[in-house]
Symmetry: C2
Subunit: 346 residues, 2 copies
Amino acid sequence: MERAAAMPTPVHPQHSELRKDPWRGHWVIMAPGRAARPQPAFRRSLLDATVAGPFAAGQEDHTPSEVFAVRPDGGKANDATWRVRVVPNLYPALRVEHGPEAVADGPADKMAGLGAHEVIIEDPSKDADLTTMPVRRLTEVLWAWRCRLQDLRRDTRLACGIVFRHRGADAGATLAHPHSQLVALPFVPAALTTELQAAHAYRLAHGRCALCDVVRHERELRARVVFDGGGALAWAPFASRAPYELCVAPADHPHPFEDASEPVLAAVAATLKEALVRLDAVLNAPPYRLWLRNAPWRIPGEERHGHHWHISLLPITHQEGALEEATGVHINTLLPEDAAASLRGA
Amino acid sequence: MERAAAMPTPVHPQHSELRKDPWRGHWVIMAPGRAARPQPAFRRSLLDATVAGPFAAGQEDHTPSEVFAVRPDGGKANDATWRVRVVPNLYPALRVEHGPEAVADGPADKMAGLGAHEVIIEDPSKDADLTTMPVRRLTEVLWAWRCRLQDLRRDTRLACGIVFRHRGADAGATLAHPHSQLVALPFVPAALTTELQAAHAYRLAHGRCALCDVVRHERELRARVVFDGGGALAWAPFASRAPYELCVAPADHPHPFEDASEPVLAAVAATLKEALVRLDAVLNAPPYRLWLRNAPWRIPGEERHGHHWHISLLPITHQEGALEEATGVHINTLLPEDAAASLRGA
């Protein structure tokens, strides 16, 4: 009978909740509805699928209605003429329809799952890949990120928007069709605050942007540079957290990502593509995680404009453990100088 | 020729370096010597090994000389009469022999790999497991953690000591023989600072320890309690980051872990064992990560004594992704109330 009581309660697939831990400080997204997603065995078959799948052109009725699309040759919403298409996630962790009211739950806080969870379908074909796309197409993907973030920024209940993508099941992908995801949150995650504080402290101490200094220093030193595209730089950071971790950033101090110009995005896209091509050559098309680090929206203008957005690229080459999980401190067994030399030689 | 230049330089196996990221604020342990550890294919064979392996009783000359051991029946250092044995890691990420001097490296900071990296061998037999050990033996393991942390705390160059363990290759284990690890660091990781600040803010606002309040609240509510051992509680936290994440803590506000009495450790060991037995029953002996959350050493006494140490237990049930990696925000698809009900019923 205890066993019967232990069966999960059926949950509305759209229900989710944000919970704040009272003694550790973190927020968690509780989204039991996402347990209804395709399960691992089936996921593997989706990853290996030879069929078109729900994200392919012509399958638009298998996704929620689109919120944005790139259609340079015209066409209308939800038809098959798109090149990049953004839809709400079918199993959303967060929804804009929720209210922002937080309430106490014992010593903790909780609120309904306010936010956004969108899928950026990067190409009409499931066989496409960022590495082999023309730079112009990659630029359109970054443009879609920019436009969606700009739109969500207008919602004053939301504090920041995170864009990320996975390649390969070992990185967290559940569908092979190339796509990125966008999650907008009504709070700023602690890890992001830590980074902003570090950058802000550097600015207060030196009067300059830390990342601008890093770009200048890496260009002089050259040892950790993977590719210098002029308008953007790809390098293995001095304090890389894992083998072949790369950073791609605009070389000159940029506007906030949501206000980026098309030429800046094109420069970053070209350099990102070079980095991806070299990673594929050296690591034989590894699984990877990629994310955009852009400034949160509800912080003072000085800090927001002081932030230098960039893209982090993390190939999955090893199994992490409890030290990383518990402390965020990583043990890296490959010097970034050696990683960059390999990638330059590719 | 570029290819030749890209070959990793041979590195002294004991060399490591701490590097601080100037614009993201994190520290990384650069330990290229650890790349010489047994590699994945070989690691798998070590995990499956039917031979005794380097941690078994009688193989003491295959490890560095011990720094601590539990020998209730007598015997001398490095003989085979131990029940728990602590040795420096053969591939240490950090060493106490390094100096604490940090230097600038361009806009970044670095220092030699000062710290400690030890292995706590939890049983003379490779076939032992925390889940099946008698509570008295589990208490001896916690006692070994306590004694090593207490010893390292005396080194004023070190800021904190982290104890963690893996079960299973998917959790990060490289040897099947049951062991935990201890890493002492000359800085406090940002993730730990975030937690301490949250707990301290709660104390300032309410005049009470947050975790004491949580224990009281969970006992009243009962919905998330897995096992109540009287002196210690095991529960699924309100803001669990993943399915079946558990916390085990002394019920009464404890002394710092390094000063814990034997009865408190025995109470936590008994409750931890119950939690492990139930996890094994419900999840069929899952891989898991476990870590001790104890207070850093070089913080004000008020904050140190205000901290309520506890053990986190995280079964590996799913593949995490870039959102977790980039932000520390987790999406949990199983309510802790449902997880606890399953575990209570086991």
